[in-house]
């Protein structure tokens, strides 16, 4: 019976997860194409340093260390999950113990120590967010769901650790009494680093029957938490634990100051500058809808921008380093990423329900991100520099500006003047081009 329930849970859990992953993938692919298939060795190196090695986290050492505890604990605990899977499908108990021997004791002890560290880190993160009220974790864009999401993940983490110690602790006491299923009839200790003493301390006075129940609650609880977590991820900011890897792999490897070149504009400009081109000649396939300049909605952004949005864990390092945000302006690079993701989810759902040409009359620019926000950006790249998973909020801001300027001619009036000065005098100010060389006479 247990094997059947177990199998249903596992298959169901992984089925739902796969379905969500496919949906996220199709949402990301709604974006425009951008080539990030070059320089693969450099890309692997970036991914290993930034995602696996968490290089950029360490600019702030204390949270980096605590985050590292959580991260390593998370990865290593998956080894225990392998045993849970093996036990679940075969109906055995601690299947690997007899074959691995001392190494098994070492592995579980190691997992236990990491779990304690993860517990400490989680408590620290919860109190930093809710008691210390760290400014970057208490900004207005986090009101409501994002704050709940963050706390929920941390609480799930704590529950998971509790289940691990219920399972191992109760089993330890059972082993002490000679009733553990791991070694029938033998009275001994597993000698695990933490549960070896924590188990007898907590459960020493519990009856044999209750111990069995506590151990099973721990075991099933662990499994259910993992499956819940897995299926919660696609709806959560916590998706970064998976997407940090592809996102850093596909990072922009060029100098940060280089903005993309709009090839469609290049064609137009070349036509304007080439006297031999017939201006009245047909412009190719007329049924083809010309692509919009810049971005008004998420589908005008590149798939990398959209992958960025799903990879964002809303840590707010970008926003806390943003000069505009620090001086009280409306712009928050984190909000740009959160808005992009929220809008993408909305567009994706609309398309799935109503077909691929569905329009809901809303757009990223206007309904989510205001013009005031994007005009406050100094393009200083601090947000890009800060992001621990190489997200680029600036490229979204620039694409939104491009849409406003080139499609709607909407911009602060001073900028209209600046641009016409460039076009007329070749300088952003009203100076005569003939005076450009005047300084040489002042030497």
């Amino acid at each position: 019976m247990a094997i059947v329930i177990f199998s249903i849970l596992i298959i169901g859990g992984f089925y739902l997860f796969t379905k969500n992953v496919i949906q996220i993938r199709s949402n990301i692919l709604l974006g425009r194409d951008i080539d990030r298939s070059d320089r693969s060795s450099e890309r692997w190196r970036t991914m290993i340093l930034v995602a696996l090695g968490q290089k950029k986290m360490f600019t702030r050492p204390i949270p980096a260390l605590l985050h590292l505890c959580l991260y390593v604990a998370f990865i290593i605990t998956q080894i225990e999950l392998i045993e849970i899977l093996a036990d679940g499908f075969t109906g055995s108990h601690r299947l690997f113990r007899s074959s691995l021997g001392g190494f098994y004791t070492f592995m579980i002890s190691f997992i236990e120590i990491l779990s304690v560290l993860a517990f400490v880190a989680t408590v620290f993160f919860l109190s930093r967010r809710n008691l210390l009220k760290l400014p970057r974790l208490n900004m207005k864009e986090l009101t409501g769901w994002p704050t709940k999401d963050a706390n929920l993940i941390l609480i799930m983490e704590i529950i998971l650790v509790c289940f691990i110690f219920m399972m191992n602790g109760a089993d330890e006491v059972m082993y002490n009494r000679g009733i553990s299923h791991a070694a029938h009839g033998m009275k001994d200790s597993f000698n695990f680093s933490i549960s070896g003493c924590l188990g007898p301390m907590l459960f020493g006075g519990v009856s044999d029957g209750s111990l069995e129940i506590i151990e099973r609650i721990g075991w099933w609880g662990h499994l259910i938490m993992v499956l819940t977590f897995l299926n919660y991820l696609p709806y959560s900011k916590h998706l970064h634990i998976v997407l940090a890897f592809p996102n850093t792999y596909f990072s922009n490897l060029d100098n940060k100051g280089k903005f993309t070149n709009l090839a469609s504009v290049t064609e137009e400009v070349k036509k304007m500058m080439d006297p031999s081109i017939d201006p009245f000649a047909s412009i190719g396939n007329e049924s083809e809808v010309p692509q919009r300049f810049g971005a008004k909605d998420v589908t005008d952004l590149t798939w990398k921008n959209l992958l960025d949005a799903y990879s964002c864990t809303e840590c707010g390092r970008c926003t806390s380093s943003c000069p505009a945000n620090q001086t009280g302006k409306l712009l928050s690079p984190r909000k740009i990423m959160m808005d992009t993701r929220d809008r993408l989810v909305e567009v994706g759902e609309g398309i799935r329900k109503n077909g691929k040409d569905y329009l809901d009359g809303k757009s990223l620019l206007g309904d989510y991100i205001s013009e005031e926000e994007i005009w406050a950006c100094t393009s200083c790249n601090a947000c890009v520099q800060e992001c621990p998973v190489n997200i680029d909020p600036l490229s979204i801001i620039v694409d939104l500006r491009r849409y406003l300027v080139m499609e709607e001619s909407k911009m602060p009036t001073e900028l209209t003047g600046m641009m016409s000065n460039i076009e007329n005098n070749g300088a952003p100010w009203q100076f005569s081009p003939a005076d450009r060389g005047n300084w040489v006479n002042e030497l």
């Binding site: 504009v265 460039i422 030497l443």
Partner: protein, 264 residues
């Protein structure tokens, strides 16, 4: 002091059948803004003192298109870029030095895709090279000896192009004490002028960015704020004035520091 000298334009050199080793891209600030012109002259004096065979475009130079591009006007940017590339290619320019990180970034990173491929360096990099080659000696060097100098990283030089060391190495050659602001290098705070902000009022907020940055500089108790960008220079100068500190604190370009120390 340098005796007056002539700066040739590429057109003049071509007429004489000569070429320049390097083009000095002056930029709009450096050409028209009175404060920035002083930086331009300092760079020209250094190049002249080092016998660098350089020239300028003069009236043939035009805005790189940087502010238009940052503001989202790709049309104006590409028009400017293609016109400039035609001029640069016409003179077969190979190497460009500029004292403006915005021009530097645009010429270096954004012109190649439009066909303009040049070796582009920032003036602090070139001056560092010249000093290392022994072409420029900082005589006596007492002018800035022991003075506290802080360096404000221009975003388009630092984060945008990873140039952090060249300007700092020049300050160290002055025998001065280089003091870093709490936010420097990759963490440096913008002066507030980038992304076409130089040309518009800031959005509503509770502070101007250059004031925030000037506070960082004041905390170091440096008597000189060095920069490597004409826009940063303007913003920091305004910031210092805002605190009524213009009598105590100078805002100078690294090129000016070097030119002064070398008594050019």
């Amino acid at each position: 002091m340098t005796t007056p000298f002539q700066v040739a334009t590429m057109a003049e050199l071509l007429a004489k059948g000569e070429t320049a080793d390097i083009l000095f891209w002056v930029g709009c600030s450096g050409s028209f803004d009175d404060r920035a012109k002083k930086i331009t002259k300092a760079v020209a004096k250094i190049l002249h003192a080092c016998n660098v065979k350089f020239a300028v475009l003069g009236a043939e130079e035009s805005c790189t298109g940087d502010p238009a591009k940052r503001a989202g006007n790709e049309f104006t940017f590409q028009m400017q870029a293609m016109m400039n590339i035609q001029v640069l290619d016409g003179y077969e320019v190979k190497k460009i030095v500029t004292a403006c990180p915005h021009c530097f970034n645009t010429l270096k990173n954004e012109y190649p895709e439009l066909g303009g491929k040049y070796e582009v360096i920032h003036h602090t990099q070139l001056i560092q090279e010249l000093i290392n080659q022994g072409k420029l000696a900082i005589k006596g060097g007492d002018l800035y000896k022991g003075k506290k100098i802080t360096f404000h990283d221009p975003c388009y030089l630092g984060r945008a192009n990873d140039v952090y060391e060249a300007p700092r190495s020049l300050i160290e050659k002055l025998d001065a004490e280089l003091v870093e602001m709490k936010r420097c290098k990759t963490n440096g705070l913008c002066c507030g002028a980038g992304g076409a902000q130089m040309f518009k009022e800031a959005e509503n907020g509770n502070k101007e960015i250059n004031i925030e940055r000037t506070e960082d500089a004041l905390e170091t108790s440096a008597s000189i704020i060095a920069t490597g960008c004409p826009f940063c220079n303007t913003m920091m100068t305004d910031g210092v004035k805002n605190f009524n500190k213009e009598q105590d604190i100078q805002v100078l370009d690294v090129a000016e520091l070097i030119a002064n120390a070398a008594d050019l």
